[in-house]
């Protein structure tokens, strides 16, 4: 049953992605991207990643879409029709895709409990974290305790990006105001 839901949602994802490629209206592309993120959150639920799913629904489908709509309001919805031939990008994409698909032949089967990814530190997190950290949610234990420095690095990246956005857009607002105060 879970596999069926997974397959149906993934098929929806493919359809949404194809629509994003084919549509020309930027507004429609951005809204479809919001839908795409929400379906991704659904797939994460089907794959047992509940924490990731609500983060994706809030941050990916929510904040990203709002940011893109805000940008569209500033830069306009117009998208020039494609002038270049599509042959070169298509060739590059198809070749890369075929190489990647070739790589899946060596990957462990989906859901295999014996896959190498489940053999290293994950068993320790699963068995010991409830006793060692005392939080029932193992994702929280790993995020905040075992890999706390990763999370510290993440906040550093988010802080840097926030400062950079403020620097870029704050400068623009100043320049908007200056000619405004002298010109009007």
């Amino acid at each position: 049953m879970t596999h069926l839901i997974d397959i149906v949602l993934l098929t929806f994802l493919v359809a949404t992605a194809i629509a994003i490629v084919r549509l020309n209206s930027l507004f429609a592309v951005v809204m479809l991207f919001g839908i795409y993120s929400l379906i991704t959150a659904g797939v994460f639920i089907a794959l047992d990643a509940v924490d990731v799913a609500f983060t994706e629904a809030a941050v990916g489908a929510g904040i990203s879409t709002v940011l893109m709509l805000g940008t569209l309001a500033l830069v306009g919805h117009r998208q020039a029709p494609q002038q270049h031939s599509r042959a070169l990008p298509l060739t590059v994409v198809v070749i890369t895709g075929v190489v990647l698909l070739w790589g899946t032949a060596d990957m462990p089967r989906f859901g295999d409990p014996e896959a190498p990814v489940h053999q290293h530190v994950a068993p320790r997190y699963i068995q010991d974290s409830p006793a060692e950290v005392g939080v029932p949610n193992m994702v929280t234990s790993v995020l905040a305790s075992y890999r706390g420095f990763d999370t510290l690095g993440e906040t550093a990246v988010v802080f840097t990006a926030g400062v950079a956005v403020l620097v870029l857009l704050g400068r623009r607002r100043r320049q908007h105001r200056d000619p405004g105060s002298s010109g009007d």
Partner: protein, 141 residues
Amino acid sequence: MELLGQYNYWVVFFLMMTGFYVVIARGNLVAKIVGLNIFQTSVFLLYISMGKVSGGTAPIVADPGSLYSNPLPHVLILTAIVVGVATTALGLALVVRIKEAYGTVEEDEIYAQDDPPHGSAPALAQGSETATADSAGEARR
């Protein structure tokens, strides 16, 4: 489910290539950022697919002896989602600045302004201050 053993990975790589195609084939910078996000989300799906264990449940302590999916990819992707939205915000802020400086977000028109084909267009690259003031004036109309 034996036949569909790798279905998740196939879909992930199809989505990845879709995002890649949008990035390299579309000239509009906002569309390129949407493409980058599609690419990024497909990488998230790849990791989460690898963390799934058949018959497992979400990694939150339940009855003793339950089978849990691998929590480690979930943690990595949680971090990646938050970092991803931060970089998206930065990219969009750059797009807004480019629109201010060049008056367009189409790649071809930006190239045409940087390297004028006939040598007659005004040198916008060195006079970005005036260009910004001009486009600000246009924006206010």
